[in-house]
Structures are given as structure tokens and as C-alpha cells.
Amino acid sequence: MLCSILVIFILWYAFDRAGGAAMYWVTWHTHEHFSQKICKIVGDVSPDILLLGTSRCENHYVPSIIQDSTGMSVFNAGISASGSIYFQYVTLAHLLNHHTPKVVVLDTGESEYVEHEGHLNMLSFYAPHIGRCAEADSVFSQLGMMGRYQFSHLYRYHSLSNAAIARLFMPDEPNDNGYTPIACPPSFPSTIGEPQQPLPGAPQMLNTFRRFIALCRSHNVQLVLSISPSYSILDEHYYDELKAIAAKEHLPFLDYDTPGLYTDHPEYFYDNAHLWEKGSRIFSQRFAHDLKLLILNNYRTDDSEPY
């Protein structure tokens, strides 16, 4: 029996390594949205301005508008549901591995600093690229995820395997340098989000945020923090924890959320957290203008400015 188990293990190992190699090829050739975008970040794009964040980044910032305003090339590396600073750190590390942008804009939020299981699941999107970037791999090791990916190469692909294979022969979805517009909803949000209290960030995640800042600094990349608008009322101290870190590190902080930008325009929103295409285009013009000012002012923000 032990001999049989050993034979099965050896055969499995062979299938695992061969399957892993095949899936690596699939990952680079599929038209599946996430795999394709991550492959671009890992080895393809070389923008001057890199936009990082979750779906609120992916759906809110229109690169062509920002590009027209700033005259710099832009790539929106926001990925839906990626929602954690670990994910953003890995994304940045992979990009810095082959290209150094001038500016990194991190669209952030309090929820990205609160621990939950989903963070680890989303991080597995980068598992196919383990071994390419030591800095990114350090996050997997820090979170105790490295062992399983070293043990099985096929397991690295299990999050997106079926989608990647299914979309191997399907056409590309058109997008504007990583930006994914949301279609007009059947009805706009009718009630404004309930007032929310700030969430305390997990020390390990706030630490990763500090490492993120240090990583930018070590590559001479200017980091800009931004929080895009939502259709909700926030406590005025909602982002104090992040603002305190930004102030300490002398980082520009563009907060469009606490002042309730567009809360009188429900027609811009798809739901309480997301702008649909029309809203995102209007917001991007505003953001592009502010970013241009910031670049012209050498990234110094005046406290009296209504950011």
C-alpha cells in the first residue's frame, strides 16, 4: 500500500509540474480579465503614472483623461475585490521589478487595512507569478502562503484556472489601459449610505502600508494617496489613521470621500460605493486636474486647499 501511495504521489508530482507549466502558458495567453491584467503588470506595461487600488480604482479612474491632462502615460492597475494593502504591495513590487513609474497613485480605504480571509484568496491571483519577484514573494512568505504554492504548482492556478481556460480562445474585452467602465444601472442608489464609524487598522497591515511607502521611496517613486467618492456619509475622522501616516510621511492625500463629493449627484453612482461610467469620467477630470496641480506644485499640498 505504501508503495502504491508513493507511486501515486510520484505520478501526481509529474502531472502537477507538467500541468503547472501548461497552466503558466495558459495564464500568459488567456483573455480572462484578471489573468491578463496581472500579466500586463508583471511584465508588460511601463507607465509614468500607475494607479493602484480595488474596484473603486479600476472603475473610477479613466487613464485617457488623466493622460490628456498630465501629458504622462497612465495605467490603471486596480483590480476588483483585491481589497488589501498586501495585494497592492505585491502589485507594486511586480511592476517595480521591470519598470519604475514616476508617480504611483494608491486609491485606498480603511477596509483595506482590516484582516479577513478574502484578502488571502485574492492574493492567490498572483500565485502563478511566484518566483519572478523576491519582494512580492516576501508577502506570500509573511502570510504563510508560500509552502502550499511550492508544494504544488497546479495549486497556484486554482483560483482562476477554469476562467483562464474557458477564455483562452475568446476575444479580448476592450479596455482603456486597465480602466473598466460600469454600465448605467437600471436605477440609481436611492438612499445615501448610513454614517460609518472608522475601523481600526490591523497592525500587520498598517506595517505593510509603511513598507509600501518605503518601497516607493527606495525607487524614487512619488506616492500619492487618494480616496475616490462614494455615495455615503462618513464620520469626519473616518480616515484619520491613514491621514496621520500620510502626514508623518509627507505624502499628498487627495480625499474626495469625506467631503461627500457628488453626494448630491446620485445619478453618477452605480451603487453606494461605485461610480458608473458617466460619474467616473466626470470624477477623472476633477482628479486629473488636481493631480496636475500637485505635480506642478512638486507634490506639496496646501492645507487650505479643498482636497
Partner: protein, 470 residues
């Protein structure tokens, strides 16, 4: 400790290794070891609930001893009734109390007299319905004289708590499982390989088929307001495969694990979706429970030996209890009633006894049975009766383009093809005419491929088995 979790994948080989390290002649030590392992397995959920398992074990053990020690019919009955009352009371308190309390409050509210009944905050212990029924079956068998009383407490406690089938069956019979604890079970290569094959196939059914279908089904049934009739129809079509993959997968892992240890558990599923009548479906679905209800509820009520109307009444009672057994919710009750009604109609029309004249007729019968079973599953899966109504109304009145994820459908399609091939192979008892060496090589390759397939396509987040909640 779930079967699809890393702790179990470490626990099970360790148990096997230590079990076979104990010589077969030291039977008591082996049983004691298995008992300790089973309690450890159960306590990994909530240690306190092991007391409940122990209570059920002690009560049925003592009542069976009481039954065996006397020939006085009245005393024997008292012992049996005491065992039934205590075990069913435990089941009632943990499983049905809140349901009854909330319905009573709703009813009194309707009458304009508000009474406040405190709601229990006790969590439902995993597998309580399974081990309670197994223990009760033993007590009833001893009372009927169809099984011998077990005087060794360790052996009996192991019969109730044997870890492969403790939390979700198959619900074993005492005269089948108890004698196996008195045999030495030396390690057998064939048993080991068969068990391993069953476990791998069970994991495939659970992690790939059930959990992939579950992604879609849960997305629709838990957010009905965000979907249309088309999505309801697709989800209603996928749920039967989800629940089959989930439960048949669990049963196969349980049977396979027991087989590796040298024990034979009863078959729980026999390609139920190939049935051509509801009666046949119940001979193929959750066989251990349906035969339990047949032997301990339907037959004592009179079974088929009574008049036509009484027979229908017996069927309805059995299926209503079966619905209740699955959960304290009106949806399960409706599901049970629906199956009871369909069986009554089949019996009344003599449908299942009519000869099938052509393949086309057989296909028609299969399709009708499958559609009816799917229809009933809607009640089983819906969170409330109102939700079931929304789903059925949506399917019949708003059948537009469903929400689709090409990727999920691809993998589900592959799984269904594999399942169909396996079902036809099993049904026809077809075996490839190959020599044993080639067969052994193919088996090893097949097992390795299946494990690789599960690694790549399985949902490996230790999701719960549906039947654990029962």
C-alpha cells in the same frame, strides 16, 4: 474537522498508521484507539457537544441492556420508550425548539395574543440527527430481537461514534456494523486501494462538482432580487447536482475511509438521477435514511399491509417526518410532503409497475422524474417558502437570459460528462476487459490524475457539507 480540510488529511493517515500498528489480536486496544480518535474528531468542532454524543450513547446502551435483561413485555417497552423520549428530546431541544417557539409566537400574534417564548441560543450539534437515529435504530432492533445486545461499552460507543460516518452517515444498522468491531481487520491491499479510490472520487464530487455548482446556486438563491427567471431556472437545475456531489461525495469519502480501516459501510447512493420514477429515486437516494424510515416508521405504521387510504396516509407521515428530519424549516416540510404526494400518486396510478415499452418511453419517464425531483429541490434549497414561490414564479413568468459565467459552466459540463460516464458504467456493471497489471497501472494513473484535477479545479476553501446542518 471537515473531510475537505487539511487537519483531516493529516488526521486520517495518522489514525490509519497507528490503527494498523496495533496488532489485530489486541482488539480491545484497537477499538479503544478508534473510539478515542472518533471523539477527538467530533470534539474538533465543539468539545462540549461530545457530552451530547456520550449521553445518547449511554442512554441507548443502558436501555438496550434493560431490554435484554427482562422478558417482561411492559418493562421492555418502558426501557425502549425511555430511550426514545430522551434521545428525541435532545434532538427537539437542539434542533426544533426555536422553530416551534417562533411559529407559536407567530400564531399567537395572529390571534392577537402576544406571548414571548425565549429563543434558545444553543448551536445545532454537528451530526446529531445521524447518530441519534443510528443509536435509536439499535435500541429498537434489540427490542424487536433482531439484533443481540452489545454488553461491551467501548464497542457500542464506537458503533455510535465511528468517525467516518459519525456526522453525516451512512446511518448504519447494528447487525451490520457492530459485528465488524469484533473482527481483527488485518491490513488488506485491495481494501486500501478501493477505499482510496472511493475517497478520491468523493473529493472530486464534493470539491469540483458540488462546490463549483454551489458558487452559482448560492449566488442566485441568496440574492433572488438581483436575478431573473432564467438564472432561477439554471440554479434550480444545478442544485440537484450540487447536493448530490456534496452528499454522495461525503458518503463516498466516509465509506472509503472506513474501507481503508477494514470496515464495510452500506452504499448510500446509487445513481439517483437515473431513476425513472419517484419510488425508484428513493431506492437510490440516501439509501441508509430511506431504509431507516421504511423499517422504523413506515412498516410499524402498517406499511403496505393495510388498506389503500391508510397506505397513502402512512407514506405521507413517513415523508413529512423525513422532511422534518432534514431541518426545522417549512421548506423541508414542504419538500417532504411533495415527495410523499408524488409517491402516493405513483402508487394510486400504478405508474411504477407499468411495463416500459420503448426507449423513448423510458426517456420520457426519466425526464419527468428528473423534472419533478428538481421541482421539489427548489423547496429544499430556498431559504424560505416565500423564496421558493419567487423562484417558481420567476421560472414560469420571467424566463429571460440567465446570469452566466462561462468558466463555471465549462467545468460543470466536464464534471457532468464524467459523472454520466461513471453512472452508466456502474449501472451496466461494465468493466474494461484488461489484465490485472494493466488495470493496476491505470488505477494508479487515474488516481494521480484525479488528485491533480482536484488540485487545479477544486474549491479548496474547506466549505461545509450541506448535510452537516442536519
Amino acid at each position: 474537522m471537515l473531510f475537505n480540510s487539511l487537519p483531516f488529511l493529516l488526521f486520517f493517515p495518522a489514525v490509519c498508521f497507528l490503527y494498523y500498528c496495533i496488532p489485530g489480536s489486541w482488539l480491545r486496544l484497537r477499538n479503544l484507539f478508534l473510539l478515542a480518535a472518533s471523539y477527538y474528531f467530533y470534539m474538533s468542532w465543539e468539545p462540549a457537544y461530545a457530552l451530547l454524543l456520550l449521553t445518547s450513547t449511554v442512554v441507548t446502551y443502558l436501555s438496550a441492556l434493560g431490554i435484554a435483561q427482562t422478558t417482561d413485555k411492559r418493562k421492555r417497552k418502558v426501557c425502549l420508550v425511555a430511550s426514545l423520549v430522551i434521545n428525541l428530546s435532545l434532538l427537539f431541544v437542539f434542533k426544533y425548539y426555536n422553530f416551534l417557539a417562533s411559529n407559536l409566537m407567530w400564531l399567537t400574534d395572529l390571534c392577537g395574543v402576544r406571548i414571548n417564548i425565549p429563543i434558545s441560543k444553543l448551536l445545532l450539534p454537528v451530526g446529531i440527527s445521524f447518530y441519534t437515529f443510528q443509536a435509536l435504530g439499535y435500541a429498537i432492533d434489540v427490542y424487536r430481537g433482531t439484533t443481540k445486545v452489545e454488553r461491551n461499552f467501548v464497542t457500542y460507543a464506537l458503533f455510535v461514534s465511528f468517525f467516518p460516518q459519525l456526522v453525516a452517515g451512512p446511518i448504519e444498522r447494528s447487525n451490520s456494523l457492530l459485528p465488524q468491531f469484533k473482527q481483527p481487520h488485518p491490513f488488506d491491499y485491495d481494501n486500501g486501494m478501493k477505499g482510496l479510490r472511493m475517497m478520491v472520487w468523493g473529493y472530486f464530487l464534493k470539491l469540483v462538482l458540488a462546490d463549483r455548482c454551489g458558487d452559482y446556486v448560492n449566488a442566485v438563491f441568496n440574492h433572488l432580487d438581483m436575478h431573473n427567471g432564467g438564472s432561477y431556472a439554471v440554479a434550480s437545475l444545478l442544485f440537484p447536482f450540487q447536493i448530490y456531489g456534496d452528499f454522495a461525495g461525503y458518503s463516498l469519502i466516509a465509506i472509503g475511509a472506513a474501507r481503508i480501516l477494514g470496515f464495510r459501510l452500506m452504499q448510500n447512493f446509487r445513481q439517483p438521477y437515473l431513476s425513472c420514477s419517484i419510488g425508484e429515486f428513493w431506492k437510490r437516494w440516501h439509501i441508509s435514511l430511506s431504509t431507516w424510515f421504511k423499517d422504523y416508521v413506515y412498516i410499524p405504521l402498517g406499511g403496505n399491509r393495510v388498506g389503500k387510504w391508510r397506505r397513502y396516509f402512512n407514506l405521507m407521515v413517513t415523508f413529512v417526518i423525513s422532511g422534518c428530519w432534514h431541518g426545522a424549516n417549512w421548506t423541508f416540510l414542504c419538500w417532504g410532503m411533495l415527495h410523499g404526494m408524488l409517491l402516493c400518486i405513483e402508487k394510486a396510478t400504478g405508474y411504477s409497475k407499468q411495463a416500459v415499452r420503448s426507449h423513448l418511453e423510458m426517456f420520457g419517464r426519466w425526464l419527468l422524474t428528473f423534472v419533478l425531483v428538481c421541482f421539489a429541490w427548489v423547496f429544499f434549497r430556498a431559504n424560505t417558502l416565500a423564496d421558493a414561490g419567487i423562484v417558481l414564479r420567476g421560472i414560469f413568468t420571467n424566463l429571460s437570459t440567465p446570469f452566466t459565467r462561462v468558466s463555471d459552466f465549462c467545468i460543470i459540463g466536464v464534471c457532468l460528462v464524467v459523472m454520466l460516464v461513471d453512472a452508466v458504467k456502474q449501472e451496466r456493471r461494465y468493466h474494461l476487459p484488461l489484465n490485472p497489471t494493466v488495470k493496476a497501472v491505470l488505477l494508479h494513473v487515474w488516481l494521480a490524475m484525479m488528485i491533480a484535477f482536484i488540485t487545479l479545479f477544486g474549491v479548496l476553501d474547506s466549505s461545509q457539507f450541506i448535510y452537516f446542518q442536519f
